[in-house]
């Protein structure tokens, strides 16, 4: 599938923001005493910027962005519509949390309650985003049980690293030190299982079932229907060489997993470097996640391309 930059940016950035909210909801009740307002302002500001910027970027993908509001209407059947509704609801909850925590410094219970609601809605939004892909039968690399866990764990890992970033920037220790590295490892394991599963997929759909001619023998394209690439070929026909994919997977793993882990370990060993290490870990890891998300699209193959080429998808 064609890796559209606007959609890659949206899923990565909103994953960061929603991941931060999920962790705030979980860990605010564990914090000793009222939570720091400056830390609240920085972390919520960052989350809002990521989610808002991501949503704006996703509308750049639309042919008629001025009609985007219509996408809230079909939540009964469409995961894209559900994602839109949930995204707006969680934005409202995050705005309320911003009001209650850094702006008004409301009572702790009020902050925790709002955070819990915002965290739940955030998790639901990330799951809905993943379900958009997971529900597409023509794309085997997406239509499998690993897609949703990948989106959720990567959002949590990115959210953990960026919460630590906000903590380092404001001089507040919010998350226990082990949380972000554990989440990064968890995401790495889940993504590795995703790759293992999807690399081994054998599709029942072939050019034989696509044309119905398989029973007559091997089917080979002879003449294409048109001389220049059409929409289907441009949108679904994006292919990445296997050896490049392998290299990019290593880059994603290096930047998204190894680099932040090493930085956190180095920071733990040399206290003078700790702050800079944490401030560096989140952006580096995010570059790795961008590569991972690019691959999520670039490696996915659509069965419609079988009509244009004989090999399996």
């Amino acid at each position: 599938m064609h890796p559209a930059l606007s959609v890659i940016l949206f899923t990565v950035a909103s994953g960061i923001g929603y991941g931060m909210l999920m962790l705030l909801a979980l860990f605010l009740p564990l914090a000793a005493g009222p939570a720091d307002r400056l830390f609240g302002a920085v972390s919520l500001g960052l989350a809002l910027a990521c989610i808002g910027g991501g949503l704006l970027s996703s509308t750049a993908h639309l042919g008629r962005p001025e009609r985007a509001w219509r996408a809230f209407t079909q939540w009964r059947s469409s995961w894209l519509s559900r994602e839109g509704v949930l995204a707006v609801l969680s934005l409202v909850a995050i705005a309320l949390l911003t009001l209650a925590w850094p702006i008004l410094a409301a009572p702790v219970e009020c902050i925790e309650m709002t955070a819990a609601i915002a965290g739940l809605l955030s998790a639901a939004t990330v799951a809905a985003t993943a379900m958009i892909y997971r529900s597409l039968k023509p794309i085997a690399r997406w239509h499998n049980r690993w897609t949703v866990p990948c989106y959720l764990t990567i959002a949590l890992a990115s959210g953990g690293l960026w919460l630590d970033w906000a903590g380092a920037a404001t001089g507040v220790d919010f998350l226990p030190r082990a949380v972000a590295p554990i989440l990064v490892l968890l995401a790495a394991v889940v993504k590795a299982l995703y790759w293992r599963h999807t690399d081994g997929l054998k599709s029942a759909t072939t050019i034989g079932t696509a044309t119905g001619l398989g029973a007559l023998g091997q089917v080979r394209p002879l003449d294409p229907p048109h001389t220049a690439a059409n929409y289907i070929m441009k949108e679904m026909g994006f292919r990445i060489a296997r050896k490049h994919a392998a290299k990019l997977r290593r880059i994603a793993g290096g930047l998204g997993v190894l680099a932040p882990l090493l930085l956190v370990i180095a920071g733990g060993m040399v206290p003078a470097l700790d702050r800079s290490a944490v401030l560096l870990a989140a952006p580096v890891a995010t570059i790795g996640v961008l590569v991972e998300r690019w691959l999520f699209f670039a490696e996915a193959q659509h069965v419609a391309m079988l009509y244009y080429k004989a090999d399996a998808v």
Partner: protein, 246 residues
């Protein structure tokens, strides 16, 4: 509404005879011609007079080679929307622009509502939906809904443009929900095929497979040599012919 209606009794669709199709692309061209001027039009073209012309078409005709050796054959394969019963292109649509009609099963796009998110084209396994870059909306076959119900037309002309134009009569239009209809009987007689049945979209359109051919070159070798169609020449020219052929 993008939830699918309870399937009605009438399921309009096409039956395409792959034994007869000669791959002339007339159906695709007439489809483009009709729909670019009809309700769904105009269908944008990009750089139509350059080396790499592209544009929105509802129907594309592929040609394949099938089988090997004497059993090998060329099969021409028109590809367009199959108006699936389980049209997931419709259920994924976030706006309600994509819809399946309860009364005849036709799958349509309301292009005044479509936001051009392209998700429906990802959900269609058959590559039947094409995005119109100039208008910013998705496009697809309408089964010529603006022709087949047009009472101003003589009844015989109330068929999709592709069916009316096919010079080989390889395309048939009718109600596949009615087991007694001509199209349903054709499908029953010739074991009409659904494409990619394993994905569960339950397409309405059916393809009739190529008929079994003779067993190839060995059959030709057995047929008797052709008789001369002209009698042997007589007279001077006959003598000259025999002399020169010797």
């Amino acid at each position: 509404m993008t939830t699918l209606p309870t399937p009605g009794a009438v399921r309009l669709g096409l039956v395409i005879d792959l034994d007869i199709c000669v791959g002339c692309h007339a159906c695709a061209v007439n489809c483009k011609e009709w729909n670019t001027g009809g309700n769904a039009g105009p269908l944008s073209d990009y750089q139509p007079y350059e080396a790499q012309p592209d544009g929105v078409w509802f129907n594309r005709v592929h040609s394949y080679e099938v089988g090997d050796g004497p059993a090998g054959q060329t099969v021409h394969f028109p590809r367009s929307c199959l108006h699936c019963d389980n049209a997931e292109c419709v259920t994924v649509c976030p706006t309600g622009a994509s819809l399946k009609r309860a009364e005849d099963g036709i799958v349509l796009i309301n292009e005044d509502v479509c936001i051009g998110c392209k998700l429906c084209s990802w959900a269609c396994p058959y590559g039947a939906r094409e995005f119109d870059e100039d208008v910013g909306v998705m496009r697809k076959c309408t089964l010529c809904v603006d022709r087949i119900y047009d009472e101003a037309r003589p009844e015989a002309e109330r068929v999709p443009a592709c069916v009316s134009t096919c010079p080989a009569s390889a395309r048939h239009f009718g109600d596949l929900g009615d087991p007694a209809s001509d199209v349903s009987r054709m499908v029953a007689d010739r074991e009409g095929m659904a494409l990619m049945p394993e994905l569960g979209y339950r397409p309405t359109n059916r393809y009739l497979p190529p008929r079994a051919k003779g067993s190839g070159c060995s059959a030709h070798a057995k047929s008797p040599a052709l008789e001369p169609v002209m009698p042997e020449g007589t007279g001077f020219l006959g003598w000259l012919d025999r002399l020169l052929s010797a």
